[in-house]
């Protein structure tokens, strides 16, 4: 039941992001509690609107039932920033999220899809080396005062509460969309930093 209700959060956030982009183009001012609440309620309504007997949000869910907590959190940061004008994540926090997600995806997917005899996905069914590694990364990030530590914490909390359909810890940290997005972001940032470097040298 709790997982079913939670499954509407991700599509609602996607719809809200799209609405924010639309209102921005129309030059409508949507920053502040009241417009944000209205946009969110409209988003939830659209996500719950039945299309061919199934709520729109559940159509998205039909194709992928486990959008990770990390992706949901990054989306929430983006939506919150546009809604309230407050940055929950600094660039360095985003960078930590992308590096973590890209590495996680690059480790998990090739092996889980059959490369070699070892399946790391098995480690996600219960407490294992995966939990220990995540705990260590969370502590290191906390020491570095990186806010991505909070997202990792929330992901484990969500896993304990079974907020996703999956019972595997990996699915709470990453999903294919997040991995692709993170890789793209890291490549873009990499190219940007390479472009900036010669300029510095000429100064």
């Amino acid at each position: 039941m709790i997982a079913t209700v939670f499954s509407f959060l991700f599509p609602s956030l996607v719809i809200m992001m799209l609405l924010q982009m639309g209102t921005h183009r129309l030059n409508w001012k949507t920053v502040g509690w009241r417009p944000a609440l209205i946009l969110f309620l409209v988003s939830v309504f659209i996500a719950s609107f039945p299309v061919k007997g199934l709520p729109l949000g559940r159509w998205l869910f039909s194709f992928n039932a486990n959008f990770s907590i990390t992706l949901t959190a990054l989306l929430f940061c983006r939506v919150w920033q546009k809604a309230m004008g407050i940055k929950l994540f600094r660039p360095i926090d985003f960078q930590a999220a992308w590096i973590f997600s890209a590495i996680t995806g690059l480790v998990l997917y090739p092996m889980a899809l059959g490369m070699g005899p070892f399946d790391p996905y098995t480690a996600g069914w219960g407490f294992s080396w995966l939990s220990v590694k995540v705990l260590m990364i969370t502590i290191i990030l906390a020491f570095l005062k990186n806010r991505f530590a909070v997202v990792l914490l929330l992901a484990v909390l969500a896993w304990n509460l079974r907020l996703l359909e999956s019972r595997n810890l990996w699915d709470y940290f990453t999903d294919p969309f997040l991995t692709i997005f993170s890789l793209v972001m890291l490549i873009i940032r990499g190219i940007e930093s390479l472009r900036k470097r010669p300029l510095r040298e000429t100064r």
Binding site: L54, M115, Y121
Partner: protein
């Protein structure tokens, strides 16, 4: 973040891992990787060789049926499941069940739909394009299980697995529960062949993955203690790669078993792996001499410890269905009987069980139009073996 926030964050991180750690600690040693060997040492009450053949369903005309499975419930009733519709993967494909009570009239009941894409969509609260590949089995608590495939989009590679449980012998079923078994959109997990029961109450269900890699796996599943509607599950890989799928597991003793694989590579030979720790780890696959036309096969253990295989004896066609015996735990096989041989027709997806009475029950797809049920005892296999040995000696 100030120091206090950092401290709170670290404490919260530690606290949040306490519950899974406690669960892991309390479950340490709870899993007993030892196979249960029900009826394996039972020989048929009927000493004389016998074989009976009957169809579970009448001729389906233009409609197709495929992928049958069978189980015996603790009360002695048999249940068969298969999928059927206008064509494989069509939207009107449904999963059917039929029952046989040998103590009564001895004929299969009229097939009934247990799940189709509409009911699966409603129960799973999502879009389902098609259903297929049911496997039925019963547990010692008299529960009837059905694991089957649902596909939201695409073909078989986009399958995911689902479970239904019946507490009244198949009259009513719990709502479908979807299992998440793959991190990549939870696709490409399929089921085939007979589960094995473990001493701790878990079932090891032979499943397989087919997307970029093609490999056999085991789904470990059980009902949570004291919670009838709640299941626990996980999976482990048997081997990786791109050659073998659809493992059929034959148990030798509490710790040892062999798995035989359908070969989907150009080798076209049955693959085999072994375990000596109750299915926790498996050896690398070895290629047998037995031909396999990229088709499902099944194996059971007889009371004398030998393995009996039902298979298509061809490198590229499913036009025959044979039985073979192995005296050396699956390394070599000797064909003992030909059940079907008709060029241009398909006889495929054999599924075998040993019943409480010691008889071997086999169901398979007959020309894609019917599901055939064949029952024989070990005395019949021995007589067929004797005949085939005499034939070979004569030649």
């Amino acid at each position: 973040m100030n120091r206090r926030t950092v401290a709170i964050l670290i404490l919260a991180a530690l606290a949040i891992h306490v519950w899974p750690f406690f669960l892991w600690l309390s479950n340490t040693g709870a899993h007993e990787n030892a196979f249960v060997l029900p009826f394996q040492n039972t020989t048929s009450g009927r000493k004389k060789p016998f074989i009976t053949e009957k169809f579970i369903i009448p001729d389906q005309g233009d409609r197709m049926v495929h992928v049958a499975s069978l189980c015996e419930m603790p009360g002695g009733k048999f249940v068969a499941a298969w999928y059927g519709g206008t064509r494989e993967g069509a939207k009107d494909v449904a999963i059917f069940l039929s029952f046989l009570d040998p103590r009564k009239e001895g004929s299969w009941t009229e097939p009934e739909v247990v799940v189709d894409r509409i009911s699966a969509s409603k129960e799973l609260y999502r879009y389902i394009k098609k259903v297929g590949n049911p496997v039925v089995f019963s547990d010692p608590m008299d529960r009837l299980w059905m694991i089957f495939v649902t596909i939201p989009f695409g073909g078989w590679s986009c399958s995911s697995l689902n479970v239904k449980i019946s507490n009244d012998g198949g009259d009513t079923w719990t709502d479908t529960t979807r299992l998440t078994l793959s991190p990549f959109l939870n696709i490409s997990e399929l089921v085939r062949n007979n589960p094995v029961l473990l001493r701790d109450g878990r079932f090891g269900v032979p499943i397989y993955h087919e997307f970029i890699g093609y490999f056999p796996e085991i789904l470990w599943i059980k009902v949570k203690k004291g919670q009838d509607a709640c299941i626990e599950y996980g999976k482990t890989r048997i081997i990786g790669g791109r050659d073998y799928i659809q493992p059929a597991i034959a148990v030798s003793n509490e710790l040892s078993a062999c798995a035989f694989y359908r070969c989907r590579s150009e080798k076209r030979k049955v693959g085999m792996g072994t375990t000596v720790d109750g299915g926790a780890t498996w050896s690398a696959a070895r290629k047998l001499e037995q031909a396999n036309p990229d088709a499902s096969l099944d194996v059971v253990t007889l009371s004398d410890g030998r393995f009996l295989m039902a298979y298509n004896d061809s490198f590229n066609k499913r036009e025959n269905l044979k039985l073979a015996l192995s005296n050396d735990r699956g390394k070599t096989w000797q064909a003992v009987a030909t059940l079907e041989n008709s060029p241009g027709h398909e006889f495929s997806y054999p599924y075998m069980i040993k019943s409480r009475s010691g008889d071997v029950h086999l169901v398979y797809t007959w020309k894609r139009k019917r599901i055939k049920h064949v029952v024989f005892n070990e005395a019949w296999i021995h007589s067929m073996e004797k005949t085939s040995v005499e034939k070979r000696e004569h030649q």
